[in-house]
């Protein structure tokens, strides 16, 4: 029984981190209607930036996360403002296919750029929470994953509050629902897009920073391992749905953890995709997906 609960708990902690890594993706899709294929690259980028701070500048983990935030925010802003917005200005469609290709190209560019600058190496960092556990009887809590869960849930609450109750959040939602109507109300859609993209990148960056406390840093790990996972989670939970990302993440986390215990790690990967297909079959818009989330 304890083993069973332990597996579920481990699944929830890691799943919440998956959820946080997917939150930026779902936010960008929900508001800007852009499927960001460079999402995985942003994960690697944030991990590398955190790695840089913690190994070169400060050994303080919290400070290095805080220092990572403005950088990913800025990069996110530049990507939307400098690359995607100009396409929006030229193309009349609401969801231009060229933006999809642009983000895919950007992903290759960023991944390879990181390979050149950082090198193709795996590196781990020692943070104050690395390798720590709390023991309650025979129940073991992994401190880095647990911290990740707490940060993740706080971020979800923060974003939910921001979008629901602040004037700024309302303007973001307005642009997400109807770009033209929002413009008539005096909101600049392109500026809002840039801020939203930057916000998405920041959330992703926070998740990625936390990940460095127990995961290795590598330029393609974002695209190859976590980026794909984020896409599954977002579609599973409902494209554009904020609580859907958390729910999707936790479901994937629990499946991985339980199936590895009772079948095997390979079976777990298979099962995630099976359940993913099954849910899409029953509810094509994803678990919590709807046309307008807010």
């Amino acid at each position: 029984m304890v083993a069973y609960l332990q597996a579920i708990f481990n699944g929830i902690t890691m799943g919440s981190i998956y959820g946080l890594l997917a939150l930026g993706l779902t936010l960008v899709f929900g508001i800007i209607r852009v499927i960001n294929f460079a999402h995985g690259s942003l994960i690697s980028l944030a991990m590398i930036v955190t790695f840089f701070w913690i190994t070169r500048i400060t050994s303080n983990f919290i400070l290095s996360i805080l220092l990572t935030i403005p950088i990913v925010f800025f990069i996110g802003y530049v990507i939307q403002f400098g690359l995607i917005n100009p396409v929006f200005k030229k193309v009349k469609e609401r969801e231009p296919i060229s933006v999809l290709l642009l983000t895919a190209g950007l992903s290759y560019l960023l991944d390879n750029l990181m390979q050149i600058i950082y090198g193709p190496f795996f590196r781990t960092v020692n943070t104050p929470i690395t390798g720590l556990t709390w023991k309650i009887g025979s129940f073991i809590i992994s401190v880095p994953r647990f911290t990740g869960m707490i940060v993740s849930i706080s971020m979800f609450i923060f974003i939910w509050f921001l979008l629901k109750y602040t004037y700024f959040g309302k303007s973001i939602r307005a642009v997400g629902q109807d770009r033209e109507a929002a413009r008539l109300m005096g909101i600049s859609p392109l500026h809002t897009y840039a801020i939203t993209f930057a916000l998405g990148a920041t959330l992703t960056g926070i998740g990625a920073s936390i990940l460095t406390s127990f995961y290795y840093v590598h330029p393609t790990v974002g695209s190859n391992v976590f980026g794909i996972k984020a896409f599954i989670i977002v579609v599973l939970g409902g494209l554009g749905s904020i609580p859907g990302a958390l729910l999707g993440g936790i479901i994937v986390g629990i499946i991985e953890s339980l199936a590895t215990q009772y079948f095997s790690s390979i079976a777990a990967t298979l099962l995630v995709f099976l359940i993913f297909l099954l849910i899409l079959y029953i509810k094509p818009s994803g678990l919590l997906g709807s046309k307008f989330e807010w």
Partner: protein, 409 residues
């Protein structure tokens, strides 16, 4: 008259260019390694080792029987992907017209790529991949310098049984965590066989896909299985994640065995003291007491900043084997070279730095003696030290079995 002069001048020019080109004779080899992607660090090591050997060979006058031909290597990136490996092999043969290919790192890439070379009658020389079947298909043009994975496993299980008997410690339950690739599955098949022979039951059979998002579920399954020993087959990134998580979760074992995969510099650099007591098997280690081994390793270290891995050593020696074979036949015709490789015993420098001598059997498989290594704390630094068979162990060093529990480290 003027026209004739110009014509003659052109002829002379063309001739002199041809003669000049002939003086700069080269023999071109192809090479396939993972130069990008997750296995890139080890691929780059393989490239470094080859570059060092080629530099030395060319500086010493190239291949003398071929008019001092210099060796030139075309490096192609497999990305660690079997399909890419196959298409790059095809490209090297049909576009670049090479007759000799060396590489790969992963068995999964070597297995189909060597089949392509065999079809074209091109020599494929594998210094590193260890999946047994690579040289068990009756191929004519495929040679392997590395030991087979099954030999590593055979010797590890023998070591385990011997040591457990000597210490009077019972070893009943083994677990296997392995990558579902040619390398992992090959090791798993061999473990099934040799563990059954030794009366050790496999109570955890855990295949995984490379690039684990989290090792905690696997580590949890290891804890639940209550194992005596664990055999782990996987590459650097997953190794780092797995051992870090084992340490975090304080899962204790009597022994942790890698299957030739635990000595990557990146693994050692990242894991440090967490690697202590891990056992691995190799045909070669930097501390091995063989003539020339220390000097070659030192040169490599000065050049590239880290110790040679066994894989780098194999790649280095492999270049010299090819060079000597070419030297003997005086052409780069694969049919002549394979005869030489099958019938020659390679002795002296640099082969003796790797093994007593190198010779290949009918299937193109080299005979290799293996030693057991354990990561031990030597003067405050984690080092792989030769611990078994006892007569070749590093002086004053004895294996530690069972492992010291995490809580007491």
């Amino acid at each position: 008259m003027k026209r004739i002069t110009v014509f003659l001048l052109i002829i002379v020019a063309i001739l002199s260019i041809t003669i000049f080109a002939a003086a700069e004779k080269v023999v071109t080899f192809g090479n396939i390694l993972p130069l990008t992607g997750t296995a890139a660090p080890v691929g780059i090591e393989g490239r470094h080792a080859r570059e060092m050997a080629i530099e030395e060979i060319n500086a010493a006058g190239g291949i003398k029987s071929m008019g001092g031909a210099k060796i030139e290597m075309i490096y192609r990136d497999s990305k660690g992907n079997p399909q890419v490996g196959v298409s790059e092999t095809e490209r090297l043969i049909t576009v670049d017209k090479v007759k000799i290919i060396t590489g790969t790192f992963q068995s999964g890439v070597a297995y189909p790529s060597t089949a392509v070379a065999e079809r074209y009658g091109v020599l494929f020389f594998c210094p590193v991949p260890s999946e047994p079947r690579i040289t068990e298909r009756g191929f004519k043009y495929v040679f392997r310098l590395a030991e087979k994975t099954s030999w590593r496993v055979r010797d590890e299980v023998r070591f385990l049984v011997d040591v457990a008997n000597k210490k009077g410690i019972s070893v009943k339950k083994a677990g296997i965590v392995y990558e579902n690739t040619a390398y992992g599955l090959g090791a798993k098949a061999a473990l099934d066989e040799y563990l059954a022979e030794a009366n050790i039951s496999i109570t955890l059979d855990q295949p995984f896909a490379s690039g684990l998002p989290d090792a905690l579920p696997i580590v949890d399954s290891i804890r639940r299985a209550n194992l005596d020993v664990l055999f782990y087959i996987g590459y650097s990134n997953d190794t780092i994640l797995l051992i870090n998580t084992l340490a975090e979760q304080k899962v204790n074992l009597k022994a942790f065995f890698g299957v030739g995969n635990m000595q990557e510099p990146l693994v050692m650099e990242n894991l440090g003291s967490k690697l202590e007591y891990v056992i691995d098997v190799a045909p070669w280690v930097p501390d091995i007491n063989r003539p020339g081994a220390k000097e070659i390793n030192q040169k490599y270290k000065d050049k590239y900043g880290n110790n040679m891995s066994p894989e780098a050593m194999k790649a280095y020696v492999g270049m010299y084997i090819l060079k000597e074979a070419l030297e003997i036949v005086g052409t780069d015709n694969p049919d002549d070279i394979i005869n030489v490789l099958r019938n020659t015993k390679f002795t002296g420098w640099p082969y003796e730095a790797y093994q007593d001598s190198v010779d290949f059997d009918e299937n193109g498989q080299a005979q290799v003696q293996l030693v057991m290594l354990q990561a031990l704390n030597i003067d405050g630094k984690i080092e792989y030290t030769t611990v078994y068979p006892e007569h070749v162990a590093r002086e004053g060093i004895h294996y530690i079995f069972p492992m010291v529990p995490w809580e007491d480290r």
